[in-house]
């Protein structure tokens, strides 16, 4: 059921209990977890944190802990499946689910006792009505055993006939109702998409309790920016949510800095910025950032020689000397940095890049430390999926969680370095895929498969990196191809996951159009294709459009998918 009053029905219930936090592995979940942890620390709530990266881990963690905990909080996992069926909990266990995955499973919506959803009601949810999907099991045979005593045979026969007619009518109605139900559920569950970021929901909770701080606001901003970087929400929703957060930012950061009340430089300030969309440009050189951001690289077609020339023209048009542009951004001449944004925007318009600037926020503390929200997103995501260190998965999760605190700048800088490597690897892979025509049209979708020997392919065995790669690849492909039909196709991307076990990770992303609503049908499609071919697949990720399957089954799976979708 949906909670109307988060404070009374969620927070005040758990504040005196021990709680188990199950947190999914993405940056939005990390931010929501940070906010909730800060609230728990203020009120001395005892909790245990378990990071989970898939359904199997969720089940294992639940089974391990179900005897000790009665209250479970699930962050960014659990809304889109029938929790009660999967976990089989006891009667007195309660689940609080704060998840941005949609559509929410109907059982979770209509369960009145055990499952509580922390979801904003203004998300367009379109949940089907209760009567359309659930129906009490009526006693079908209630009138068949009716004995009428002592009536005339003709009456009896008439009644019998009437009974038979009634029964057939009822059966027909039931069949119709079931057919309609199947249709409604199919329409409801066909497309996957994302709702409001969980970090923003948690921040709202903190705000309602008047315990919100600038730090929590920053985490909410990072959570929202993660949804935007991963292309999970539409541009409209992003702009609306930015507006909401902007109000909070002005409330917290409006201090008139005059002679009387100047704040220490070490205090954190958040500022609204209409800044460039270039990834990590303030911590890198402008040139590298232009080459490794998908938007500029795709628009200028930087994988070709022509593209490189256009980049030089672009820089020349702005009047930025190559030497300046290739050095670290902080060391660029101040005179060049002053009007950089406006200059770049003007030139970008000439070269067909109309959306080079985006509304976002930046954080500023101390003399040296200024970060944009997207910088933090890239850094945290690459820390979380760091393949360099061998160790339990939870180590990376905890490191990424720590890097979100302002005191752990060394971890953040490490994350930024990893993010740079990741972005470079992505761009190189995209360039090689486009140049070698690795993206082929299979009819209803485009398909690209990374070979085992590709450099940096280990980086792409993780879901978030692979999704980022596929989105960039699709963007670049759409700019590079001349085939109008291909531009509207979705993309399925495969990469080797574990060479020893012979598994492949496969990701499906929706088509790249101007006004796409980011709804993804690959979740259901993958399920159906796997069923029909008996392929050995593992639908482990919380996003249904990411699966793992055995390399041998790949071709028959693809064939089934093609026939399903055409």
């Amino acid at each position: 059921m949906f909670l109307s009053d988060c404070r009374r029905e969620f927070y005040e219930v758990i504040v005196s209990q021990r709680v188990l936090l199950l947190v999914a592995s993405d940056v939005d979940a990390l931010c929501a977890c940070k906010i909730l942890q800060a609230l728990f620390q203020c009120d001395h709530v005892q909790y245990t944190l378990v990071p989970v990266s898939g359904w199997q881990e969720l089940e294992t963690a639940f089974l391990e802990h179900k005897d000790q905990f009665k209250y479970f909080v699930l962050i960014n996992c659990g809304a889109n499946v029938d929790l009660l069926e999967i976990l089989q909990p006891e009667e007195d266990t309660f689940f609080f689910v704060c998840d941005s995955h949609r559509p929410i499973n109907v059982v979770n919506v209509y369960n009145e006792t055990q499952i509580k959803l922390l979801v904003k009601q203004d998300d367009d949810l379109d949940v089907p009505a209760y009567d359309d999907i659930f129906r009490d099991e009526e006693d079908e045979e209630e009138d068949s055993g009716n004995e009428s005593d002592g009536s005339e045979p003709s009456e009896k026969r008439r009644r019998f006939e009437e009974d038979v007619i009634e029964r057939t009518m009822k059966r027909r109605q039931k069949r119709e109702w079931e057919a309609r139900r199947r249709e409604i559920l199919f329409d409801y569950e066909q497309y996957e998409y994302h709702g409001t970021s969980s970090a923003m929901v948690m921040f709202d909770l903190a705000w309602i309790m008047s315990k919100d701080l600038n730090d929590m606001l920053w985490w909410a901003i990072v959570g929202l920016t993660d949804q935007w970087v991963q292309d999970k929400i539409t541009q409209m929703k992003y702009v609306t949510d930015i507006g909401t957060l902007q109000r909070h930012v002005s409330r917290h950061n409006h201090r008139n800095e005059d002679e009387e009340n100047s704040l220490s430089i070490d205090c954190m300030r958040i500022a609204f910025e209409y800044d460039l969309r270039l990834a990590l440009y303030q911590h890198w050189s402008l040139y590298e950032s232009l080459c490794n951001t998908s938007y500029t690289s795709a628009s200028l077609k930087l994988w070709s020689v022509q593209g490189q020339k256009r980049l030089q023209e672009f820089l020349a048009d702005m009047g930025l000397p190559l030497k300046q542009v290739k050095q670290k951004f902080n060391s660029m001449d101040i005179s060049l940095k002053e009007n950089l944004r406006e200059m770049i925007e003007e030139s970008a318009n000439k070269f067909g890049m109309k959306d080079l600037r985006v509304q976002t926020f930046s954080i500023h503390f101390g003399f040296k430390n200024k970060f944009l929200a997207s910088d933090i997103v890239y850094a945290t995501a690459s820390l979380m999926e760091n393949i360099e260190k061998e160790g339990p998965e939870t180590d990376n999760f905890i490191k990424a969680l720590d890097s979100l605190s302002r005191g752990n700048l060394d971890k953040l800088h490490q994350g930024l370095d990893l993010a740079k490597k990741q972005l470079r690897a992505i761009q190189q892979t995209v360039a090689s895929c486009i140049c070698t025509n690795l993206v082929i049209s299979q009819g209803p979708f485009l398909y690209c498969s990374l070979m085992e020997g590709t450099p940096d392919v280990k980086l792409f065995s993780k879901p978030v990196s692979l999704c980022l790669l596929s989105k960039y690849l699709l963007k670049s492909f759409v700019c590079s191809t001349k085939n109008k039909r291909c531009k509207l196709l979705p993309l399925v991307m495969a990469a080797p996951m574990d060479v020893e076990q012979g598994t492949v990770i496969m990701v499906g992303i929706p088509p790249e159009t101007e006004s796409s609503d980011k709804k993804n049908f690959f979740g259901r499609a993958f399920e159906k294709a796997a069923e029909s071919t008996n392929s050995r697949t593992l639908h482990n990720h919380f996003d249904m459009s990411i699966i793992e399957l055995k390399t041998e089954d790949r071709s028959k799976f693809l064939d089934a998918l093609i026939s399903l979708l055409s």
């Binding site: 620390q41 203020c42 009120d43 701080l213 009387e260 100047s262 704040l263 220490s264 205090c267």
Partner: protein, 216 residues
Amino acid sequence: MDPAAGSGALWVGLRRRSANGEGGRGTRRVRVRCRRGPPGCRAPGTMEPAEAEFLAEKELVTIVPNFSLDRIHLIGGDLGPFNPGLPVEVPVWLAINLKQRQKCRLIPPEWMDVEKLEEIRDQERKEDTFTPMPSPYYMELTKLLLNYASDNIPKADEIRTLVKDTWDTRIAKLRLSADSFVKQQEAHAKVRWGRLERFASSVLGVFQMPCDCVGL
């Protein structure tokens, strides 16, 4: 100075070449009788910075809580009652804890003000001897309050600089006077050591003198 016998003596180890090269070794050892502290492994009466900070946290500071609570009875005394919006005096350790849990707003002590601190600093620079400080724990309190509650203290950066300046001046005076005391082999230190910060003793790497000792 003949070595004092008996317990409670405190070695002052000091290496110094004698002024006109007399004597073979050039090392002079002075033993000082310490009035307090048991004979023990460590020089009694000296203070680690952590200990000084711990003692500083007992000082009282004003906070404005945002919750309500009746009087609480602790071993060290009673605190409270707490009412939202009404200022109340609590020890610094509690104030910092409440601030971290966002349950209060700290009000800086009266001496933590730019003009007052400027005066104190200028006076310290003028005088040769130590001037009285607003609180024996001014350094520790500044550090604690500015670390945890700098958003409640106006002009925190300037205050930090002023306090550090004053501290530097005082330490310089300490070293100067200790140096001259040894050079001139004086029986009394020219300064009133009682006015010193507790922490001063640990700053003197070479010396280990109890700062409560007045006269030697």
